[in-house]
């Protein structure tokens, strides 16, 4: 049995190009706008969608995603509503993989078993939970795999060859390579170093490797896409979203178009990249 994530990466590999993975925060700045945006992302060129599960204390995120989470919470977003949003998304899109990304506490409080059942039923394909390293696999990773969800792990520049097998073990769907040691929204990575790092990871796994952190435009996306199976863009989209909020923090009239325009632009960058890696 394959998941949407596995099918999508296989299809793109056949096409000979990298995937564009977008990150937006569910419920930012409100449920309706966030859903409208999520639905528009695939048309703009997103191949996989990461939806943030807002949390009050996102310890690995920079200011842009911190603020996005707080806006969503202020707008009344909860984990229950995030799952509802996935169900709403699935009403007219059964192909685009959805990965929920966030921190463990809201899932723990929802109840791990119930969450996995509800997430699977809603149409979630994978999970990225930032504060669950392999040392805590019994908490969520192993139950999630058993429930048929992909558990996508982050590998970082600090994950050396000795530790990499532990990180890759039980990882499924794809590997998310965090290109810099830092928080989200930080400075752009050096594309050549990223290519070498991806190659290093690929010596240890057959899984596709997507690269995130520091991708802001078509140019940086193209550079990363040349050496990876996927490019993740998040903070740059959220910065555009924030620029399209009115003084009260409500969605402005051009918000969805402004964000999807940037996604289209970045998608062009990804699609124009010369394919060198992932062979």
């Amino acid at each position: 049995m394959t998941t949407r994530i596995e099918r999508r990466f296989a299809a793109l590999k056949a096409e000979g190009r990298a995937a564009l993975v977008t990150f937006t925060m569910s419920g930012d700045p409100d449920y309706a706008t966030s859903l409208e945006l999520a639905k528009a992302l695939p048309k703009a060129g997103a191949d996989l969608i990461e939806l943030g599960m807002p949390f009050t204390d996102p310890m690995a995120d920079g200011v842009a995603i911190q603020a996005a989470g707080l806006r969503a919470l202020k707008g009344g977003q909860t984990l229950i509503k995030t799952l509802a949003m996935v169900r709403d998304f699935r009403k007219d899109n059964n192909d685009t993989p959805i990965v929920l990304m966030g921190y463990y506490n809201p899932i723990y409080i929802y109840g791990v078993d119930k969450f996995l059942v509800d997430a699977k039923a809603a149409g979630v394909d994978g999970l990225i939970v930032v504060d669950l390293p392999p040392e805590e696999d019994v908490e969520l990773c192993l139950p999630a795999l058993k429930a048929g969800l992909n558990f996508i792990r982050l590998a970082t520049p600090t994950t050396d060859d000795k530790r990499l097998p532990a990180v890759l073990n039980n990882t499924s769907g794809f590997v998310y390579y965090v290109s810099i040691a830092g928080i989200t929204g930080a400075a752009a990575p050096d594309a050549t170093k990223v290519g070498a790092a991806v190659a290093r990871i690929k010596r240890h796994t057959q899984l596709p490797v997507a690269v995130g952190f520091g991708v802001r435009n078509a140019e940086s996306a193209r550079a990363i896409a040349a050496g990876a199976d996927g490019v993740v863009v998040g903070s740059a989209l959220i910065d555009v979203l924030r620029a399209n909020l009115d003084a009260d923090g409500k969605a402005g009239p051009n918000l969805v178009k402004a964000v999807t325009d940037l996604v289209s632009d970045i998608a062009q960058g990804v699609r124009s990249a010369a394919k060198v890696a992932a062979k």
């Binding site: 009050t56 310890m59 690995a60 911190q66 504060d131 600090t158």
Partner: protein
């Protein structure tokens, strides 16, 4: 709850950092290699007599240990007089004078251990979070002594209400970074310190101020603070020829309490009380009592009791005491609560300020607002005990930093 029959309460955590279901290592992958490196370095240091010897030297000559165990005679007499209907009762109250340490609180015990570990590990840059500022001051002090750059994250709200400590840190050469994310208090300072650490993993040592965070911090900070309880044991033996009958300490994250409690956990005759901050009262929802008003969850690298809403979002704590204003508690405390070995109580802002005033005027000791919470419960606990009951309260810090807060509080009550 009945106390469970374990052979020992002092064997935790297990090799994965768990105290029962609490503790653990819930951190981003970027930090995991650092945490494992720290654990290995700490285990090596612990086994090295030279490390312990050097630490003892600094604790004696720089910190000024041992701190006295002081018989609070007038407070004892006062409580005996006012204990209504219990004229025969009223425990004999001792203060463990951590307020007399260099830098004015127990925090320096832990910081001394961690900075010496940082030096052994060759780390060149120290970061810390602070609430009331006492941990920040202690870290800034040791960094000055050993010539290390020091960056202290402090919630913007706390920067306002603990100005004297901000000035002290700056005078000691530290950089104080006010944190304006989230609720602008201690939990956000910890988030920001973790973000710094994720960004500067290779050269930076994160000096956590309490018995919380990912393994090995809760156990390591506890070990450094156990000097409090170990000294108390010897000093009480010398003063009274026996063990104390009860121990009382305030609990935010809980490092002063753990340091006092841990050496006595297996002495079943010793009653142990932790006092959380009840702020405006537990029913008001505006408090910092994680055990009384929270439930188990995961934050800042460990599973423990946390204040949160139905969605698992962390809620803002409230206490007049910046040092207790944290929505969690150390994981070992959470476990000791569940096991019934430590009894958790709470004291409100009003009660703490009343205790602050009474202690100042009866004993000539201005306590920090944090131990004033413990004192507030000592008032009613002591009244219920016979005269030969020996009660030790951890005077974890001095109150100079709190004079403005208390004056403002009293002023607002007049209106």
């Amino acid at each position: 709850m009945t106390v469970q029959q374990l052979n020992s309460f002092r064997t935790g955590p297990d090799e994965r950092g768990h105290f029962g279901i609490y503790g653990g290592r819930f951190v981003a992958e970027t930090l995991m290699p650092n945490i494992l490196e720290l654990e290995a370095a700490y285990n090596a240091a612990k086994a090295d007599p030279a490390y312990q010897k050097e630490m003892d030297h600094h604790l004696k000559h720089f910190v000024g240990r041992p701190s006295p165990l002081y018989f609070a005679e007038r407070l004892t007499e006062h409580l005996r007089k006012t204990a209504s209907g219990l004229s025969s009762g009223g425990a004999k109250i001792y203060f463990k004078r951590e307020d007399l340490n260099h830098t004015g609180a127990h925090k320096v015990n832990n910081v001394t251990g961690q900075i010496m570990l940082a030096l052994r590990m060759g780390k060149k840059r120290i970061i810390a979070e602070t609430g009331a500022g006492m941990h920040g001051v202690a870290t800034a002090t040791l960094c000055a002594k050993f010539g290390l750059p020091c960056i202290v994250y402090m919630g913007a709200v706390d920067v306002e209400r603990q100005q004297p400590n901000v000035l002290r840190m700056k005078m000691l050469g530290a950089e104080v970074r006010p944190v304006t994310s989230g609720s602008h208090t201690l939990k956000d300072a910890m988030n920001e310190a973790l973000r710094d650490w994720v960004t500067n993993v290779s050269d930076t040592f994160y000096c956590i101020g309490t018995v919380a965070g990912p393994h090995p911090y809760p156990a390591m900070v506890r070990d450094f603070q156990c000097v409090i309880g170990n000294e108390t044991r010897d000093q009480m033996q010398e003063a009274e020829g026996r063990l104390p009958d009860s121990l009382v300490a305030c609990i935010g994250g809980g490092s002063n309490a753990m340091g006092l409690f841990h050496p006595f956990l297996d002495d079943r005759s010793v009653e142990i009380y932790g006092v959380e901050a009840a702020g405006h009262g537990i029913p008001s929802g505006q408090h910092a009592a994680s055990v009384a008003g929270g439930r188990p969850g995961v934050l800042h690298g460990n599973r423990t009791y946390l204040l949160m809403d139905a969605d698992g979002q962390i809620t803002e704590a409230h206490s007049i005491s910046a040092g207790l204003d944290y929505p969690g508690i150390g994981p070992e405390h959470a476990w000791l609560n569940d096991m019934g070995r430590v009894k958790f109580l709470s004291a409100t802002d009003d009660e703490a300020v009343a205790a602050f005033q009474l202690c100042s005027q009866l004993e000539g000791i201005i306590p920090a607002l944090e131990p004033a919470h413990a004192l507030a419960r000592v008032f009613d606990l002591a009244a219920q005990k016979p005269k030969d009951h020996l009660m030790v309260v951890n005077m974890s810090g001095r109150g100079d930093k709190d004079l403005d807060s208390v004056a403002q509080f009293l002023e607002s009550k007049k209106k």
